[in-house]
């Protein structure tokens, strides 16, 4: 059972451990520096943290002793462009995922400005995935919240490590079934209300804020999209719109139950131009039946004057499906041991939270 929470924040990495009543800060690293992504690789125990050093760029650090000490390793770098052309450069290492169980040392990195990178040696070296970088539709991708498009979700299929799904803001959902040699867009059913009507169903402009896949029933996926909530029950062949869910269907984060693809959680906010909880009441929405009915969960969450927004990597569920962790832009971290029915606030005030992840130390 998960016994640590990794929280990447605006001012460092915080590792939380259970303290009998709830969770407490066990260890910190990189204090002062933004940590947008963190990964604990269950295959070999390595801990990775991506840093966004602003003026000095995106960096990657690795720890072999669960954060006691760290070593800087190579960050993904974009290939040199030809003479006289304006080449790309890493803006943000936004998400890090481990490859399949049989691919020890393989890591996938989703980045801004839109490159997917792979490392086969624990981050010592990286290569841009050229087939995805070269899809013609990439010309229609654009930035969502950042100047350039970015890959925030990389899902390595538990059935087949060569089947990988990525989510791009704004650039749709892409699937490879051959380890990254070829890619297909998988957005049938998605709709983007922020586009002119004739372009609203263009796959390459969709803004899936976060894509998740049910590990126990991998044909089931959920998306918190810029324009609402979508789910797929048929391995990405189709997406169904979930038109209503509690106070709002706008948000960034989604978590899916590890075994039951009908169950998912969201952290809603007033849509788009406001981005804070409806009426200042911070809630989590949950469905247990694929979006047909919704529970609005508020026990333990602030119900007045809350301006907490949960970013796309800020909500996680543990391997039992009962443990939840959630971090907000106001630095609150809440945990639940009962699938969201009740929540406990971490007593420590953290910096604005970018990402939370359960893991086992």
């Amino acid at each position: 059972m998960a016994n640590r929470i990794l929280a990447g924040t605006r001012k460092g990495l915080f590792i939380l451990k259970p303290d009998g009543r709830g969770w407490t800060v066990e260890r910190t690293a990189f204090l002062g520096s933004p940590v947008p992504a963190v990964l604990h690789d269950g295959r070999d125990g390595t801990l990775y943290a991506s840093l966004d050093l602003g003026h000095f760029g995106g960096k990657l650090h690795r720890s072999d002793d669960f954060g006691e000490s760290w070593q800087e390793v190579a960050a993904p770098a974009y290939p040199k462009a030809g003479e006289g052309t304006d080449g790309d450069s890493l803006k943000l290492l936004w998400t890090l995922e481990a490859g399949g169980p049989g691919q020890k040392g393989t890591l996938w990195a989703g980045t801004i400005p839109g490159g997917l990178f792979v490392s086969r040696d624990r981050g010592e070296t990286w290569a841009l995935n050229e087939p995805l970088w070269n899809v013609p539709e990439r010309a229609r991708w654009f930035g969502g919240g950042y100047d350039k498009p970015g890959i925030h979700s990389v899902l390595v299929d538990p059935r087949d490590e060569n089947r990988i799904t990525v989510g791009v803001s704004c650039g749709g959902v892409w699937l490879t079934e051959d380890g990254g040699r070829s890619w297909e867009i998988r957005t049938r059913g998605m709709r983007a209300p922020y586009m002119p009507p004739d372009l609203a169903e263009d796959g390459a402009i969709q803004d899936p804020h976060r894509v998740v896949q049910c590990p126990g029933k991998p044909e089931g996926y959920w998306i918190q999209h810029h324009g609402g909530i979508f789910r797929s029950t048929d391995d990405l062949e189709n997406w169904q719109d979930v038109p209503s869910m509690g106070p709002s269907i706008f948000g960034f984060a989604v978590a899916v139950h590890p075994k039951d693809p009908e169950t998912a959680w969201f952290a809603p906010a007033i849509k788009d131009e406001f981005r804070y909880p409806v009426d200042g009441k911070f809630v989590v929405t949950r469905t247990r039946d694929g979006g047909r009915t919704t529970q609005v969960l508020s026990d333990g969450l602030p119900q007045a004057s809350s301006y907490d927004l949960v970013y796309r990597h800020g909500l996680d569920v543990d391997e039992t499906g009962d443990g939840l962790a959630m971090g907000s832009t106001s630095g609150g971290v809440w945990t639940s041991a009962d699938a969201g029915d009740s929540w406990t606030l971490l007593p420590d005030r953290l910096p604005p939270v970018y990402a939370v992840r359960f893991t086992t130390a």
Partner: protein
């Protein structure tokens, strides 16, 4: 040899300054710098080998930024400063503390 000085934010990577470098241009001086301190390269230059968008250099008080050329002349007595450009940037560049690269228990 030209002498290079650095913003305090890079102190973790440049423990002692000035760093003495050879080279007739800023590009050559930086190449010599990165031979001495390889980890510094990705902090000063972007993936395309340009000065980072929010880093600037001063060569004998002449400001060079990411849009400029690295081919400006450097003399043996030149002083080169590598600074963070106070031009923005989504985040504030803060070096790790108190001891770089080490976690701390609480």
């Amino acid at each position: 040899m030209a002498r290079m000085f650095f913003t305090q934010h890079l102190r973790r990577l440049v423990p002692h300054e000035p760093v003495e470098v050879t080279g007739a241009t800023l590009r050559a001086a930086l190449d010599d710098l990165f031979r001495q301190l390889p980890a510094l390269r990705s902090y000063v230059l972007d993936d395309q080998g340009r000065l980072r968008q929010h880093v600037c250099a001063f060569v004998d008080d002449e400001r060079i930024d990411f849009s400029g050329t690295l081919d400006c002349k450097v003399a043996p007595e030149s002083e080169i400063y590598v600074m963070q450009a106070l031009s923005g940037g989504k985040t504030w560049p803060i070096a790790f503390s108190p001891e770089p690269g080490k976690g701390s228990s609480s």
